[in-house]
Symmetry: C2
């Protein structure tokens, strides 16, 4: 015998891009590559107060094992906020606390996917959801997607001709990587199809609260009459990612199974982190904290969009997100984003090539830009340099 890894490990390989991007940690690099929130907005002083208060009032409980489902008060707060913010109708016992929304994605793969099963997703879709699901060896079908969301006629065609579809995965609000938001009509049309086929939908919504402008759109979960939508979110973008607290809100037939999965996976999420977030929401004005994040990210989005308008060639298109952390750039077909990245790194500018956001690859002329983690001047300078490098590929003119 010998050491043999499970078959699934063949699919889980270290990303070449991740290796290239390791150098973006250096301070001289203007990095649009990560998805990091602005750390200067973290409520560090408040967190000191919160930590001391939690330890004073419930120190032993906060440091002890706790229930898998999560801290009761926090589950209540999440349910109440969701219903207020997203028009949903969930109760405390529909909420399971997870260690970030990444864990919710991993658990969703574990719950629904056997090898060879099909996951339907947007095109492009969230890179780390692909990574999470891959551990369960599914086949991905990327549904053609435009500025309004998945093209529902295409979704229907796929469902009519495909067996073993087990899951639909979507990011309807300020999507990672494109920054796009689904229209109301597409949300309604999706639910009609989903209800007809009785398929579970993962609605991944980490950015929905970070809307800079434009009309509020109800969550897909709010239109869910058959309990098929599994809403996944996190405090990573509205509060602090380092605490690793996210949640799943879903019908109890799903939650009870997610709880079994979580028992086997890590017993429960940090009792202390859960109580700290809950205490923060009781002690401070969480809505005004979010309003402040929105204000800063809106300026950064403006800086990036303005710089792209100023410096990019007209053959290069990009999205103008109404919220969230990302914009998405499409170049003429002959320009490969990976080559562009390598050259940009010489000029200390980084981004993520778009190809890895397509589960089956093959789209090499796109890239994702993050604007939440850089001040305006550096955004402008970074886009200027990026445009300068892109201009060398000037046979698109």
């Amino acid at each position: 015998m010998a050491v043999i890894f499970a078959e699934r490990m063949d699919l889980m390989c270290a990303s070449e891009i991740r290796e290239i991007l390791k150098i973006t940690q250096r301070p001289e690099v203007i990095s649009f590559a990560g998805g990091l929130p602005a750390p200067e907005l973290f409520p560090v002083e408040a967190m000191k107060q919160v930590a001391v208060k939690v330890l004073n009032e419930a120190g032993q409980e906060a440091l002890q094992y706790s229930t898998t489902e999560g801290f009761e008060r926090l589950r209540q707060q999440i349910a109440a906020r969701m219903n207020r913010k997203f028009n949903t109708n969930v109760q405390e016992n529909n909420v399971l606390i997870t260690s970030g929304s990444q864990q919710a994605l991993d658990f969703s793969g574990k719950l629904f996917l056997s090898a060879g099963d099909v996951v339907l997703c947007e095109s492009p879709t969230y890179l780390a959801a692909i990574s999470a699901f891959k551990a369960y060896q599914p086949r991905f079908i990327a549904v053609p997607t435009d500025d309004q969301g998945m093209i529902i006629e295409e979704l229907k065609k796929i469902l009519e001709t495909t067996t073993n579809v087990k899951l639909i995965y979507i990011v309807p609000d300020f999507q990672n990587p494109t920054g796009r938001t689904w229209s109301l009509t597409r949300r309604q049309q999706l639910m009609e199809v989903v209800n007809e086929y009785e398929l579970p939908v993962i609605e991944d919504n980490p950015y929905g609260e970070l809307r800079f402008e434009g009309d509020f759109l109800p969550a897909v979960k709010s239109m869910d009459t058959k309990g098929l939508v599994i809403f996944v979110s996190t405090f990573s973008k509205t509060f602090c990612p380092g605490l690793r607290v996210g949640w799943i809100a879903a019908d109890s037939r799903f939650i009870e199974r997610y709880v079994l999965i979580k028992q086997g996976a890590d017993l429960h999420t940090s009792s202390l982190s859960q109580r700290e977030i809950s205490a923060y929401m009781d002690m401070y004005d969480f809505e005004s904290h979010i309003a402040n994040i929105i204000k800063v990210y809106r300026s950064r989005r403006d800086a990036m969009v303005n710089a792209m308008e100023e410096y990019f060639d007209s053959a290069v298109t990009f999205t103008r997100p109404q919220g969230g952390l990302f914009t998405w750039v499409e170049m003429p077909k002959h320009i490969k984003a990976v080559s562009l990245l390598k050259e940009c790194l010489q000029h200390h500018v980084a981004f993520v090539p778009g190809d890895s956001f397509f589960p089956n690859g093959g789209v090499e002329n796109t890239f994702r830009l993050n604007y939440s983690n850089m001040p305006e001047e550096r955004i402008n300078e970074g886009i200027r340099r990026l445009a300068m490098v892109m201009a060398k590929y000037n046979n698109y003119k």
Copy 2:
């Protein structure tokens, strides 16, 4: 179509015992059922100092996303302590921080097990390891085990006649559930067999530092010349479980794959929790904290063993653990621990029937007792009541 769960979910069912034991949360119940550390020993005051210090000195970093591998300083501290405490020879880059050791078990299943593969384990073995591995649909073979550890001749016989063995799982120090510790000889013999077959071994060691008496025994990992032993531990028993911080220490060919798994599963463990534990070890005397836990648990172990000697019939046997949190009781074959539990709950005493610690079941006359979470008087009273109920089954006399 319809909602269809993955096949693995058929194996992950809610435990009947867990449901029964839910009532043990009530204050009037003397519960020997859980595996909870004594919360009165948690360093609550110190944790306030630590939280403030971490937020003062590195607030933004402690609340931001961080590397999957874990906080560098903490990985160094863990490697140094392991080498000092367990005679191992690991470096910082052999250490991956996990969200408790439960996560290390789940990841080990993910790394090594495809459906139908074989896991070898002790008989009985740790319940939650069975749960974690079950998600990957292996077959368990429980190797006959005595007071010295796995019986190596039996292990050899199984290896000679079994294909697809992918993993050996052991808890050599103060095992959960039995409290037993492997002898030095068995550790050495195991490594001979493991080296011959080149099989990965998970050495799960959450209790090793909690030795009350008797000679130190080196970790199996310290005898590992081929990099086959994956050492798994946690701060849950020596510090605070609520923080959910554990680790894997292993050869880099394993660590690099565990890192990929962790990226997909939850990105990283709480930055704040990691920095708090690290700061605690820098600011306070961690060894004297552990010495205090040992002192308290030794008294409780004494109280339980003394009470069992006083009250139990001589036909009932039990272990006298030299460390850890548990003792293990074997009754005459005709007494079913589940029936006993139901009756004991009427008298407000709880424990965990032993059957679920056998991956393939079938051993119904055993149970596990925890002594870390109850003061001596209640331990005495609980064992007295337990003996009283057991005595009704007095046809064993």
